[in-house]
């Protein structure tokens, strides 16, 4: 507030001036001719008394006029700022609004409304300043970045879109959102393009390169005031085993859960037990329930921090860690490695967040594979009928297997076959001139690492029957075009087929980095297709092979989309999701992303200050309204004076 502003506001004290003037005003009667004046008696002294506050309307009008005058002088103080687009020469503008709907935008810093509401308001203001012919796109920066509205010139649709966007608990991916926004604008005819970023810039990577530095489209960080660090802690998971609930608490930088309490509640909100948290960015709290039979619904972290939605999470029954089963010839390969089979050691080398379970043979019952993300079969000598039924059930339920075909697979005993993966027997034939993979044929995740699979030194290879080739989706081929790595869908599951065994006696494949890449890609496929009980908000949950999936989330139904890998959906909020997959009911829990707890803002490039792109315009300049009000008051006073003027007689 400037000195002049203060001075102008002090002028409101003069509002008492009309009051004093009215009080002190003496009736200065106008002399009028009147013949029978001698018959008129002079009035008592009241005729010359100080006038009462007779004309209240006039007084109120004058007082209001003085106030407005003072306000007019102090106009900068009451200026209402809002976002607006700058345009050069009145040309149409193509604008992509990157609206951050991540969890950090739920923080309420410096006001009653959340950062997201402020950002949404900013989007409204920007759309209000848009004109006919301007193209607008809306991109959401919550992970994964999404296009809420493709570029359109229909501003009404844009406004409706902005209103329908809701807060979420997703992580932040501003880089991806900016790229997406740039792509949306790239094909538009407008030459004046810009990206408006409405975000707190807290994407969990405060030390990353400045945002907007590499964008080809000008980026305007329109609401820099949102970028403010704030402490936040979250309940990451609450797993129950018997009468004990293990709760994991995570805190962002500068925040601590010390002194706060974890409370386990039932469905009605009654506390079943509690435990104190310790200092540290990650804390585990064990809460003992009164008995094993009470139903614990959620774990709540007492106290408050920047984001409230992540202070509560559902309690789920604890299950064992996910695992990958490995079926390999331990006797033969242990001689070579002096330890676990090569495939098992390779999976350990990948440091997957799963257990590796070596099993002697594929089980006869699918129930024995519960909790198993995938099964790696190294040169199996075919499957017995029981194994085939178990394999079909496992894959039908979404299981993922990798089968490395070798001499044993080709020499399957009578009654054994590779069904349901391959309908025909395979042959173990000489490799001939094809001694390695053709990098040019590599697809997907193998494209980068296929170069490491050249000249594998294989004298023989498995040859798949032509009848089975049609059902395969090759990822990598031999140099003669035969499939080296292929994939086919079996029920809701997937079977990966490699035409070489893992054994180093057959080839050098297991010694090449490309083999680890192959196993890594398969393990990720297995992890995505498996039924994981807990996942992160914003991470896609895929139901490969499922025909119908209905999802009920914390805030209602969640729509699913059909991708290449099948139906999938992305949980936008923390909490429980009840999922019906082809009639089978399951419950999953979405947990917050740890990096989203870091509310430290990332730096924005200096060129994102918005010069020439947008402005915080005093478009609702109160001075005009105040001046208009002043004029109206003056007119009103004139009307009052005319109406109250004593009639001339």
């Amino acid at each position: 507030m400037t000195f002049l502003t203060t001075l102008a506001l002090l002028a409101t004290v003069l509002v008492i001036a009309p009051y004093i003037a009215h009080r002190l005003r003496r009736r200065t009667a106008q002399e009028q001719p009147f013949p029978p004046t001698r018959l008129v008696q002079p009035a008592p002294p009241t005729a010359r008394r100080r006038s009462r506050l007779e004309d209240r309307a006039l007084f109120a009008t004058r007082a209001a006029a003085v106030s407005l005058l003072a306000l007019l002088g102090a106009t900068p103080l009451v200026r209402c700022s809002r976002l607006a687009l700058q345009r050069s020469g009145g040309a149409s503008v193509a604008m992509a609004i990157v609206l951050d709907d991540s969890m950090s935008m739920r923080a309420r810093t410096g006001g009653a409304s959340s950062r997201f509401e402020r950002a949404r308001k900013g989007a409204r203001e920007l759309l209000a300043s848009a004109q006919e012919g301007d193209a607008v796109a809306v991109v959401l920066a919550g992970e994964p970045p999404r296009v809420a509205l493709a570029a359109t010139t229909d501003l009404a649709v844009a406004r409706n879109t902005v209103e329908t966007i809701a807060e979420s608990d997703r992580a932040t991916d501003l880089d991806g959102a900016l790229v997406l926004a740039g792509d949306l604008l790239s094909s538009l005819p407008q030459t004046d393009r810009r990206i408006v970023m409405l975000s707190d810039l807290a994407d969990g990577r405060p030390d990353a390169p400045p945002l907007g530095d590499t964008s080809g489209t000008p980026v305007w960080n329109a609401l820099p005031e949102l970028a403010a660090p704030a402490p936040d802690c979250a309940v990451m998971r609450a797993d129950r085993g018997g009468a004990r609930v293990r709760v994991k608490i995570a805190c962002g930088p500068g925040a601590t859960a010390a002194g706060r309490t974890v409370v386990i509640e039932d469905a009605r909100g009654n506390a079943l037990g509690s435990g104190s948290t310790q200092a540290g960015s990650i804390a585990d709290v064990a809460v003992l329930l009164p008995s094993e039979h009470v139903v614990a619904t959620r774990a709540r972290l007492s106290g408050s921090d920047a984001v409230a939605s992540d202070d509560v999470t559902p309690v789920v029954t604890e299950v064992g860690r996910a695992a990958i089963a490995v079926v390999a010839d331990t006797e033969e390969e242990s001689v070579v490695t002096g330890g676990a089979p090569i495939a098992e050691q390779a999976l350990w080398a990948l440091k997957l967040d799963v257990d590796i379970h070596p099993i002697p043979a594929f089980p006869d019952r699918a129930e024995d594979l519960a909790g198993t993300l995938g099964v790696l079969l190294d040169d199996p000598p075919g499957f017995t009928p029981e194994q085939r039924r178990a394999l079909a059930a496992y894959c039908g339920g979404g299981g993922v297997v990798l089968i490395a075909l070798g001499p044993h697979a080709a020499a399957a005993p009578l009654g054994a076959s590779l069904e349901p993966i391959l309908g025909r027997p395979v042959a173990w034939s000489e490799a001939g001139r094809a001694t390695g993979a053709d990098p040019a044929s590599a697809m997907g995740e193998l494209a980068e690492s296929a170069g490491g699979l050249l000249d594998l030194g294989a004298s023989h290879r498995a040859v798949i029957a032509p009848d089975d080739l049609g059902a395969l989706e090759p990822f990598l081929r031999w140099t003669d075009g035969a499939p080296m790595v292929a994939r086919r869908r079996v029920g809701r599951g997937v079977a990966w087929i490699v035409t070489l065994p893992v054994s180093i006696d057959a080839s050098d494949m297991a010694l090449r980095p490309g083999f680890l890449a192959l196993l890594g890609a398969w393990a990720r496929d297995a992890g995505q297709g498996a039924v994981a009980l807990r996942g992160e908000v914003g991470a896609s949950w895929t139901f490969a092979g499922a025909r119908n999936v209905d999802v009920q989330g914390p805030s209602g139904p969640v729509s699913t989309t059909r991708g290449e890998e099948g139906l999938r959906f992305v949980p936008p909020l923390i909490g429980s999701y009840h999922i019906v997959v082809d009639g089978q009911v399951e419950t999953r829990v979405a947990s917050p992303v740890v990096r989203e707890l870091d509310l430290r803002p990332r730096r924005a490039a200096s060129k994102t200050v918005g010069a020439g792109i947008g402005e915080r315009r005093a478009s609702v300049d109160m001075s005009g309204y105040v001046a208009f009000g002043l004029l109206a008051l003056m007119a009103f006073e004139m009307a009052l004076r005319l109406s109250s003027r004593p009639k001339e007689v």
């Binding site: 009028q32 001719p33 013949p35 029978p36 004046t37 001698r38 018959l39 008696q41 009035a43 007689v649």
Partner: protein, 293 residues
Amino acid sequence: MRLRAREVAEGVFAGAHRSARRGTGVEFGGFRPYVPGDDLRWLDRRSLLRHDRLVVRQFETETDRAISLLVDATASMAFRSAGARGAKLAFVSVVAAALARVALASGDPVGLSFIGGDRHNGPVARAGGREQFERIVGALEAVWPGGDADVDRDMVKRAVQWVSRATRRGAIVIMLSDLIDLPPHSQDRVAELASSGRACAVVQALDPAEAEFPYRGTVRLRALEGKAVVETDGDVTRSRYLAALSALTGVWQNALMARGGRLLRVTTADDPVRVVRGIVEALAHSSMLAKRP
């Protein structure tokens, strides 16, 4: 004024005026009950014998009945409030001219004199005929309000003396004035005109503002005669002013009624036709009471 006076007079002709004095004459004028003092020569014997009632016969008089108009032209008569049709002097001039026209049309001679006014405004001697109407209208048009009772306290006395000399028994004197700021005891002097067989009517013509005192709040009033200035509160003083005005009117009315005269109060907002007709009717009534043959 000439046209307006004729218009007013035409309206009066449509009314009740029958100017000739009933009394001794040659043309039968009707019967009326006998009252003690009546001339026994006019007792109708046939009615006495037939109905056993004393009834006297009336005859239209053959004598003329002079009318003397006394118009107040003092400074106060120049007052005209906002919204009023005209000044009081203009209003009474129209009324006076209309009365003259009515009288002249009936064959009665008419004279005119002023109270106050410009010193060049002399009286118009009593006479009859069309030319007299023109002379009276000319005098009324030429009069200019003036005169202050505080300065010239004999103005009413001189006017009354002139009327007394100019009229004889049976004449009618009509004074048109606002009765404001006249010298003391003017009502007694004017009332004397009602004696000696003359009929006298005083028309108090007021401006609507004078009759109603519509002022609100603090007002500063200045008299047109004298230097009186009063600052007062209209809301507070109104009732007292109206009482004082009524008292003034009452004084004049008492003085006139004691001599058989009549007082009419009118305002400039009234219809001149009604005013003239009211004067004629009042004079007729006054004549019947005071000039019964």
